[in-house]
C-alpha cells in the first residue's frame, strides 16, 4: 500500500461471549455480548505504528486504508530497529474436533446444567454456592502485507463452582473450575460440585501453618503453576530481549536438577491451544529446559530475530490487542516416581494442592504462588489438613531442589495475565518433591 511501510498485518476477531452466573441456586444473570475488534500493526522505517479499533468492519476497504495511514503516521516517533524473523510455518493447525458444540446448546439448558453442578455443592455445612459459566466463540481472520491470509474459529467454554462453608464464626471456601476447547463440559459434572462443597467443609477444620523452610510436595495443578511462574514467564523472549529476565544469559547452562524438563506446547490440544498465533505463525512445541539445561526461549517473530535460541509462534493477544510473547500449554514432563514413593521420600514436610494463582518478577528472579489447601507430611504419611499456604523461591536455585518427578502428569486450564491482557492457558506437572521450599502461612505453630 505504501512503500514506506516495511510490513503490515491485521488481526480481526469477531464473536460472542456468553456468561451465566448462579448465586445460591438462582440464576443471577445470563447473557451474551457481541464484538468485532481489530488490531492493525504497521512497521515503519524503525518501529511499529498501531491502530486498535472496535467495532471493525472487514468489508470497509476504505477504512483499512485509513487505519494503515494512521498507523504509518503514528510509527514516525518510534526509534527501535525492529526486524522480523522469517515465519516458515503459516498453515493453521487443525482445531481439535468438538464433541458437543456449546454454541448449539440453548442458554436455558446450559443454565440448568450449571445449576445441577452448583446444587451438588450444597452439602451439610455449606452456606452459599456460586457457579459461573463462560463461553467465548471467536472467529479470527489474519491478513498481512505479503498477501498471506488465514482464518479459523475457536470456541472455549468452561465453568467454576464455589462453595462457602461456615461454622462457629469461621468461613472457608472450596473452588473447582474446568475449561475446555473441545466442547461443552457441563454434562455429568456434579461430582465437581460435591468436590467444592467437601473441600469447603474440610477446610473449616484445617489450620494455618507457620511458615519456614521445609520439604514440600506439589500436586500436578500447583506443579503446573510452578512451571508457569518460575520458568515460563522468565523464558518469554520479550523479557529476555529487554533485559528483564534472569534467564537471559542462561542458554546451555544447567539451571535445574537433571530430572527437570519443561515444555511449552501450543500444538497440544489443551486449553492454551492456538491454531495460529497472533502474528499468523503456527505454534511449535518448545522445550525450554531439557534435563536441567536451559535450551530455548518462547518468541514472537520480532524477539526471535533479536534474541535467537527458540521458536516463534508464541505471540498471543486478546481480541483487538497487541500480540505479545505468551505461554500456551506449559508443563513439567513426567518422571518415573510413583506418588506413594514421593510422599514417603518427603518424610517430614508439606503437600500443597490446588492453585489460587501466582506471580513472578522475572527480572529479580523471584516468584510466589498460593495453594488452596495442603496436608502436613509426617513420617512419610499425610496427616493434618492445612490452609492458606504459599510458596516463594528464586528461579535460579529452586529448580535444583526438585528431587523427584512423578509419573502422573496432568494439565489444568486457566487464564494468565500479562501486559493487561488475559489469555487462556493450561499448566501441568506430575507430583514433585522439592528438597527445600520457602513456605508462607499465617499460623503461629
Amino acid at each position: 500500500m505504501d512503500s514506506r511501510l516495511r510490513y503490515w498485518d491485521i488481526r480481526h476477531v469477531s464473536g460472542e461471549h456468553t456468561g451465566i452466573d448462579i448465586d445460591n441456586g438462582e440464576i443471577e444473570s445470563a447473557g451474551v455480548t457481541f464484538f468485532s475488534k481489530a488490531i492493525i500493526r504497521a512497521l515503519g522505517p524503525r518501529g511499529w505504528g498501531i491502530v486498535a479499533v472496535s467495532p471493525f468492519d472487514p468489508d470497509d476497504k476504505g477504512a483499512l486504508r485509513d487505519y494503515l495511514l494512521r498507523a504509518e503516521k503514528a510509527a514516525v516517533v518510534t526509534a527501535e530497529d525492529v526486524v522480523l524473523a522469517d515465519a516458515p510455518d503459516r498453515k493453521p493447525l487443525p482445531v481439535p474436533p468438538v464433541k458437543e458444540d456449546p454454541t448449539k446448546v440453548p442458554l436455558e439448558e446450559k443454565g440448568a446444567l450449571l445449576m445441577q453442578i452448583t446444587d451438588a455443592a450444597k452439602l451439610p455445612g455449606v452456606s452459599n454456592t456460586r457457579g459461573t459459566y463462560t463461553e467465548r466463540f471467536e472467529a479470527v481472520t489474519f491478513l498481512d502485507s505479503t498477501g498471506y491470509e488465514a482464518s479459523y474459529t475457536t470456541c472455549r467454554s468452561g465453568f467454576s463452582v464455589m462453595a462457602v462453608a461456615k461454622q462457629n464464626g469461621t468461613m472457608q471456601m472450596g473452588y473447582i473450575r474446568d475449561h475446555s476447547i473441545d466442547g461443552l463440559n457441563l454434562r455429568g459434572r456434579t461430582e465437581d460440585g460435591i468436590k467444592a462443597g467437601t473441600r469447603a467443609v474440610a477446610l473449616l477444620n484445617a489450620r494455618a501453618v507457620k511458615g519456614g523452610r521445609m520439604r514440600a510436595v506439589l500436586d500436578p495443578e500447583l506443579g503446573g503453576v510452578f512451571a508457569h511462574e518460575a520458568v515460563g514467564h522468565a523464558s518469554e523472549g520479550d523479557l529476555v530481549k529487554d533485559g528483564a529476565s534472569v534467564l537471559k544469559d542462561q542458554i546451555g547452562s544447567t539451571i535445574g536438577s537433571h530430572i527437570v524438563t519443561i515444555i511449552d506446547d501450543p500444538t497440544m490440544h489443551a486449553f492454551g491451544f492456538e491454531p495460529l498465533d497472533a502474528e499468523g505463525v503456527a505454534g511449535r512445541r518448545t522445550a525450554i529446559i531439557e534435563a536441567g539445561v536451559m535450551k530455548r526461549f518462547l518468541h514472537s517473530r520480532e524477539t526471535l530475530a533479536a534474541v535467537g535460541n527458540g521458536d516463534s509462534g508464541h505471540a498471543r493477544a486478546m481480541p483487538g490487542d497487541l500480540p505479545i510473547v505468551r505461554m500456551s500449554n506449559t508443563y513439567i514432563a513426567a518422571g518415573d516416581a510413583r506418588y506413594d514413593e514421593i510422599i514417603e521420600e518427603c518424610r517430614d514436610g508439606i503437600l500443597l494442592g490446588g492453585s489460587r494463582g501466582g506471580q513472578v518478577d522475572p527480572g529479580r528472579g523471584v516468584f510466589q504462588f498460593n495453594a488452596e489447601f495442603g496436608y502436613l507430611i509426617e513420617g512419610g504419611e499425610l496427616t493434618e489438613m492445612v490452609r492458606d499456604v504459599s510458596l516463594t523461591g528464586e528461579i535460579l536455585s529452586t529448580l535444583h531442589a526438585i528431587t523427584l518427578c512423578g509419573d502422573d502428569l496432568r494439565m489444568h486450564p486457566g487464564y494468565c495475565g500479562k501486559g493487561g491482557q488475559s489469555v487462556p492457558v493450561s499448566d501441568g506437572s506430575p507430583h514433585l518433591l522439592l528438597s527445600e521450599a520457602i513456605i508462607g502461612g499465617s499460623g503461629d505453630a
Partner: protein
Amino acid sequence: MHKEVISDIIETGLKYADEVEVALLTSESVSIEMKRSVPAYAGESFGTALIIRVIDSGRIGSSGTSTIADWRVCLDSAVSSAHLAEPVPWGGLPDPVSLKGGSLSYDSAVKTDPDIAHTFCNRLLEGASVYPEAEVVGGGAGLSLGSVILANSCGICYEEDHSSVSASLETIAGQSTGFEYDRSYSLDIDPFEIGRRAAELAQTSQHGVPIETGIYDLLLSPMAFAGLCASLLSSALNGRSVHMGRSFLAEKLGEVIGAEHLSVIDDPFYPGGLGSGRFDAEGVPTRENILIEDGVLKSFIYDLKTAYRFGKESTGNAQRGGLGGGVTIGMHNMVFCGETMQEPGEGRCISINDVIGAHTANPLTGDFSVEVQNAFIMEDGVVQEPVRKAMIAGNIFDMFGQMTGMGRTPRRVGSVIVPAVRIDGMRLVG
C-alpha cells in the same frame, strides 16, 4: 445521531419489557510504549460499546455489542437474557434528577496527542538517569478520552466525560527491579519523578541482606497496602457478598473491625479521584458512603437489584463489567484515613514498597502470604539496607486492627487513596 439510536432502542425495547436502559460508551486513546529506553510502539485506539439492559416483571436481562448498528440483535439478546433470570422484587429504574456541575474526572486540557506522550516518555528517561546504575527495561505514556451516555425509559439521559493520563517505567539494576507509575484525569502527573523513583528503587534495592524469620513492624507503601487490602475489603463490603453469606464482614455492622483511628470512605467526589462520577452505571446519583468510621463498620455498598432484594437503598455503587453486559457492585474512590504520625517510620521497621502475589490472598477470610518487593530496613524514617527476600504472612482484617498510624500524604493508587500505613507486629519469613 447517537441520541436518536438510543431513543429508538428504548422505544422498541418497551414493546418487550417494562423498562429499558441504554449505555453508550465511546473512547479514544494514544500511547507510546518503550522497549528499554527506545519508543518501539506508537499507537491509537478507537472504541464504541453499546450496553442494553431490560427489566420485565423483575427479571433483568442484558447484552452488549461493539457495533451500534446491530442494536436490534443486542436488544433481542437482552430480552432473552431477561427470560432466564430469576425475578427480584424490582422497584424501578431511577427517575431523572438534576445533577450538579460537570464531569468530575475530566480535564478538557487532555488531548489524545502523541507529542504529549512522547514528551512524557523523554521525561521518564531523564528522571531515571538520576540513578545511573539502573537500566530502563520498558515503560511508556498514554492519554485517553472517553464518554458515557446513560439513558433509560424513565427519562434519564445523563452524559459524562472522562480523561486519563498515565505513565510508567520499569527498571533493573543487576537482579534488582524497580517499577513506578501514576495515572490521573488531568495532566498533573510528574513523569520525571516516576522515572526517578523507578530507577531509585532498582538501584537502592541491590545487594539485599537476608533477614531472620520473626515478628516485625512494617511500613507499607500506598502501593503495597492498596494491592493487599483494597480489592479484598471492597468485596467484603459488597452488599451482594454480604447478603449471600460470602463476606467476612457480613454480621459485623456496628462492630469494631479496625484500629480506632481508621476510617474508610467511598467518595465519588474526591478531587482528582479516577473513580469520580455524579451517577453510577444504573443512573443512581452517587453519594459519599462512610464504610468504616473510627474503626467501626458503618455500611455496605449496593446496586439497585441487591438493594431492592434485601430491603436496602442503592448507594450508587453499580458498575459496568458484569457477565453478559450486566452490572456489578464496586467502589468509586476508596479513601483510607487514619491518625497521621509525625514519623510513620519511627524506631526500627521494614519499609515495603510492593508485594508479589497480592491477588492470591484468600478472598473470603483475608489470609495471605506474599513476597515483598523493594523492601528496606528503616530506622527512624531513614532507609537502611535493602532486604533480599522475605514473605509477609497474616490476615488482612487482623491487619486493620494492627494499624498504628499513617503517613501524612495520601497517594492515588488506581481508585484507592491512601498514605503509607504503619502496621506493627507482622510475621516475616526470611
